[in-house]
Amino acid sequence: MQETIIEAGHSEKHYWRDLWRFKDLLIILARRDLTVRYKQTVIGIAWAVIRPILTVSVFVFAFHKVSKIKDESGIPFEIIIFTGVIYWNFFASAFQQVSNSVTGNANLVSKVYFPRLLMPLSSVAVPFVDFLVGFFVLIPFLLYRGVPIDWHILFVPVFLFFGFLAALSLGVIFASLNVQFRDFQQIVPLIVQYGFFVCPVAFSIATVQNLSWYKYYAWLNPLAGIIEGFRWCLIPGYRFFSFQSFIPSIVFVIITTVLAIYFFRKKEKTFVDYI
């Protein structure tokens, strides 16, 4: 028979075992978010196709038709922007969903027990599915523009995984802070908005490579390496990614993940008192 010990200070002795035991709930919560996402819309999942296409069109228009920014990579700018936007959308929406996951499920937190980590975990489902849809629009687009697919594409899951971990860990930290201080709800959209311009989303890192502060850029912006890595997977002969430049990203993701788990587990016991 299952025995549970509740003890002041360390009630989650079997935290990770519990997380496994509640995997059904993880799936159901993820499915809930997916089902609800396009309820009462006429074209449903087609929105996941239309949104990135619109974003790409607007940025192609703004950056290259209006302000005529020159991308130094020599690769057609719509390919740079499309690959960047698909990846950034995944990261940004995962980060936003995870940040709001605990407060968004307040009714569950105050009424029933389950490992609280399920909320951020399950909220990545929607951005992930949106990414997949976008990705399957991106591939024909690349082929149409004469960009062939080679074995590098097999590394997409690796960069997706790092982006997932980065979004999840940052989001989890914000989610726990958000429970007590709703200020963070205000900050998150700003980070996403500014991040779009700070990270090499609508331009390639080649554009800033010759600038004097470039050597700090990669270290200060760990997402740059991940996004460029994603391009490296899809564009054969892409020269602006090296595994060396990926090291800051790996270090960053490991640190934030450890911090996020520590922070979340410390804070989750008091969620119900503040939510």
Partner: protein, 418 residues
């Protein structure tokens, strides 16, 4: 076998006062406070904390198959206790060991999503309450049947009536089969028919050897369903034991306060220069061990007043009213000639006469059977508790009076099966 063992459970909340350097509510306050604390040494002096113990040193053991009712006034710590037991919040001190799967129902339809259909919500809510997907599939038809929502299975629950919503929520919880069930006041919702259904289901669950913890203000339901009861007050466990015993002690403590009102001197008493109220008192005539007023208890109403007139013909007319103001009956004393001084009147209300509920007593002092000298309105308010045997209906008993009237029922003829 002991399935729940709690040792010395305490739960502390810190209430902060906004005076002076109070708790920070926004990030900026925490931030500036943090900066300030860097420069000042005794930051503790500035913060005004108040500890509030929602639970304090609660220990108990619950055996398998026990149905335990938790009773106590608002703020006694009942809900906090359920939250600690269902692991929603962590105790500040103490240790609990629980053997078996726990399901807690602190709300009907926890986690229902308004956009999802009834069907989808059954699976969602079931999973939230800890059911496996296959269990839900197996019980799906029974759940739909119990809730009576077949026609609306594919309608989003945001279009459900509140009654349907509650029925669906309860139907799912009713089909949980945990070893330990924790229930908080969910029966306070829904109409009488639905409440009956719910209590019936709880009774079924209890006869199947499951352990149940049940918080309710419906003492009748606690009495009918539970074999044990816990009486809590101000975060402490006052008494735990046989339901009837604990209920009786609880009620006698709650009622102790309000059965009497009296005045020391005529100056402070209500009335006028002819008559003034000295005291009005309700005296229950307890039978056996009973120490609280319920429908079985006869009681006396005693009135004393100061008469400040010589040789006056006086009588009292007493009204017993329901709390909503309807007069249930009116009785009067004989008119008699009295001298200056204190006059007393007394009547006895028999057992098995008034129904359970709240009542008020008003009375008039009348001169020469025609002139009202003073009308003492609502001079005493009291409550009669419920008691019943041999029935599994725990809803409110209707009516103002509840006389024991002989009502024989017999079978007249046997119809032969042809």
């Amino acid at each position: 076998m002991t399935v729940i063992e709690a040792e010395n459970i305490s739960k502390k909340y810190i209430i902060d006062h906004k005076k002076g350097n109070a708790k920070a509510d926004t990030f900026s306050e925490t931030f500036t406070q943090g900066i300030r604390n860097l420069f000042t040494k005794n930051s503790e002096e500035e913060v005004e904390h108040e500890d509030f113990w929602a639970l304090k040193g609660v220990s108990f053991k619950i055996d398998q198959g026990d149905r335990v009712g938790i009773i106590g006034s608002n703020g006694a710590g009942k809900s906090t206790m359920l939250k600690v037991l269902s692991r929603i919040t962590e105790p500040t001190e103490g240790r609990i060991s629980i053997k078996g799967r726990v399901a807690s129902l602190l709300e009907v339809g926890t986690g229902f999503h308004p956009e999802l259909s009834g069907r989808e919500n059954i699976f969602l809510n079931g999973a939230i309450l800890g059911m496996k997907r296959n269990d839900i599939k197996q019980k799906f038809d029974a759940i739909v049947d119990f809730a009576g929502v077949e026609k609306f299975l594919d309608t989003p629950v945001k279009r459900y009536s509140s009654g349907m919503y509650v029925r669906l929520g309860f139907a799912i919880s009713a089909h949980l089969e945990p070893e330990i069930l924790i229930v908080d006041e969910v029966l306070a919702v829904g109409d009488a028919e639905f409440q009956r259904k719910c209590l019936g289901k709880m009774k079924d669950a209890s006869t199947s050897g499951r352990t149940i913890l049940f918080v309710s203000h419906n003492l009748t339901a606690v009495q009918g369903l539970c074999n044990k009861a816990m009486f809590m007050q101000k975060g402490r466990l006052i008494e735990m034991g046989e339901t009837n015993q604990v209920l009786a002690n609880y009620l006698s403590q709650v009622q102790k306060t309000a059965l009497e009102s009296w005045y020391l001197t005529p100056e402070e008493a209500p009335g006028n220069d002819k008559v003034r109220l000295k005291s009005i008192k309700l005296e229950p005539q307890f039978v056996g061990n009973l120490r609280h007023l319920d429908v079985r208890t006869p009681f006396k109403v005693k009135i004393e007043f100061w008469n400040m007139m010589d040789r006056a013909n006086l009588n009292i007319s007493l009204h017993l009213n329901s709390l909503t103001g309807e007069c249930i009956f009116n009785i009067g004393t004989l008119s008699q000639s009295f001298e200056k001084g204190i006059i007393q009147a007394e009547c006895e209300i028999p057992a098995d006469f008034l129904n359970d509920g709240s009542y008020s007593i008003s009375f008039m002092i009348v001169q020469d059977t025609s002139t009202v000298l003073y009308n003492f309105e609502e001079s005493l308010i009291f409550e009669i508790e419920d008691y019943r045997e041999g029935t599994s209906w725990y809803g409110k008993w209707p009516g103002y009076i509840r006389p024991k009237i002989d009502f024989p029922i017999t079978q007249l003829e046997l119809e032969s099966v042809s």
